[in-house]
């Protein structure tokens, strides 16, 4: 690979807004993707992630706000002059062209010489280990191979940014994991800026430098995968990334980043780490990840204890998902490993504990 990171560009979205009629598909989008950074827009369908990507690609014109790519303002520039590379959901390979012609397409439109084109296409196909299939038609390739061709076509001309719109969603699970590793490797080798869209949290967590969680057309939270998973700042992010139990309580004032107490309905005091300022008098939400829970009483003072009656056991193969009911009627799910299976049975009273620092406090929206 002759690629260097020098051509990677910064992408800046400022106060981006898109209205369809009176309905805002997205609004208040402020985001900077640094050169060479891999940023994922993560959200459920209808969250506005695809509209945002569409505006960067030029398929949609923003109602207001600006998009800058490198030194250029591209907000209203037509798609084909933006110098982009993009991988589509379901590949979108040109069926009447060979693999070589597909990958050569961006080069041709940039009026590259025959020699340049051949070299660049050759390198791109080698990078996705498809050099030997250059003369095939897309219909003669497997799904995974088609995906690699789509990747090669997207970066063959070394665009300053690569856009990926749910590129893995058409693949089966095993292939998806394999392609994920491939994309990570390519990003490392090419050093290009990547804006990736997905609704799959696992993809987002494993690929991204930073994740942007979107909800109802707005950015909900931005951060590294670790930050997003371990310090979600609202209920949506905690629920969308990984599994979570939610308990409600009345907090003492807890400043962001510190550990403080919340009183549950039955008077029990639970301690947790606030990821945002949680003022006293509001309703606080306590976020407990099932994998952090432990059977049995608190091993040390900085653990919270909960008494539950076991109501449900679901066998998941690698582990067992257990659900217990608190006195208040709220439910807590946690994982039980197979060697602990003997300790659980429906109807049994159990004590569970969670460490303070893995108990997250956020403010409830209501």
């Amino acid at each position: 690979m002759t690629a260097t990171a020098t051509h990677a560009a910064r992408l800046e979205l400022s106060d981006l807004k898109k209205l369809y009629g009176d309905i805002a598909a997205v609004e208040q989008i402020d985001l900077t993707v640094e050169p060479g950074e891999f940023v994922t827009l993560l959200g459920p369908s209808g969250s506005g992630k695809s509209t945002t990507l569409g505006m960067v690609a030029g398929f949609e014109t923003p109602t207001s706000g600006t998009i800058r790519l490198g030194e250029r303002d591209i907000t209203r520039l037509v798609t084909h002059k933006r110098n982009l590379g993009m991988v589509f959901q379901g590949y979108a390979l040109f069926p009447h062209m060979t693999v070589f012609e597909n990958v050569a397409f961006p080069m041709k439109l940039r009026k590259a010489s025959k020699h340049q084109t051949r070299t660049a296409v050759g390198e791109a196909l080698e990078a996705v280990s498809l050099g030997h299939l250059a003369d095939r038609k897309p219909s003669q390739l497997s799904g995974g191979q088609q995906q690699r061709v789509a990747l090669a076509r997207a970066f063959v001309h070394r665009p300053p940014i690569l856009l990926m719109d749910e590129p893995l969603s058409a693949l089966d699970k095993a292939l998806r994991t394999q392609m994920r590793d491939e994309i990570r490797r390519l990003h490392r080798e090419l050093g290009t800026t990547v804006l990736f869209v997905t609704h799959d949290q696992e993809e987002a967590l494993s690929l991204s430098d930073r994740i942007v969680v979107m909800c109802d057309g707005r950015i909900s939270q931005v951060g590294t995968p670790t930050e997003m998973y371990e310090s979600p700042q609202n209920e949506f992010v905690s629920g969308f990334l990984g599994a979570a139990n939610f308990l409600s309580g009345t907090p003492e004032h807890v400043a962001a980043g510190t550990v403080g107490g919340v009183r549950l309905g039955n008077g029990q005091r639970v301690c947790g780490r606030a990821t945002v300022d949680v003022p006293s008098g509001c309703t606080a939400r306590i976020v407990l990840r099932p994998e952090d829970g432990q059977l049995g009483g608190a091993p040390s003072p900085d653990w919270n204890e909960f008494r539950v009656t076991l109501t449900e056991l679901v066998y998941l193969g690698e582990r067992i998902k257990a659900t217990g009911k608190l006195e208040s009627g709220e439910e807590l799910s946690f994982w039980v490993s197979h060697h602990q299976a003997g300790q659980v049975a429906i109807g049994r009273q159990l004590v569970l504990s969670w460490p303070h620092r893995r108990t997250v406090l956020i403010e409830s929206p209501a």
Partner: protein, 294 residues
Amino acid sequence: MTATMTPAPPTTSQENHRVPWRHRQGAWWASPALLYVPALALMVPVFVIPTLVMLSLSFTSEPGGLHWYVQAFQSDLVRAVLIRSFAIAFTVTAISLLIGLPYAAIARRAPRPIANVLYGAIAASLFFSVIVRAYAWLSILGHGGPVQLALQWLGIDTDGLRLVNSPFGVVVGMVQYGVPFMVLAIADVMRRTDDNLERAAATLGSGPVHRWIHVKLPMLKPGIVAGVTIVFVTTLGYYIIPAILGSPREMMIGELIGSQVGTTLNWGYGSALASILLVLTGLALWLLNLLGRK
């Protein structure tokens, strides 16, 4: 036509990605609606304006006013021709439906090679020239033709029978013209209906006849209405087939208008008749459209 006719490959999960994207906004000069302009630039002067000219001529041609319409509506000939045209169009449509509906259903279910023959016959007859087809009927149904000979062999007196140069000949020729359109319209809808609905109905205890009446026919209704519309409307104003297979004494409205152009050279009367046909056609389209929506 042929592209819409043969069954499409089974729908895949890809289907939902194939929805074409519609432009939501953008500069007017980038709007894909502009691609209509060249075709409209041809259609408007060649079809729309001449039709309007003809409509206006029916009122302005000497002596003007409603004169030509009054004459048309007072004419016994015109009344008889209109009634005959509607009767023939109705007969042709009904027979085409009675043939076309089972034909489409059979072609969908038949084993592959037979289905190919059945669909192929539809495609071929759409491509065959109408004049050639009408001419062929003239020899087959005509005096001394195979049909007449066969009837005589069966001991049927054919002297009083007029198989061609009669409304019977027109119906035979027009049904042959109408069936392919009927089949196309129905097959198109059949292809898009969900077989699972029928299976679901069967699991709920609905028998074959009940399924046809309560599940299948309602699903096929858009196709049936489309087929009936195209067959009825084209038969009503058709010119060539009635002119070849019909008789001048039992004209249809299209022939009557044609004769005004070719022989009588009476523009005012001709355009009034054409306007009446246009309005009746429009009325038929409107009524059938209403029926289709319900």
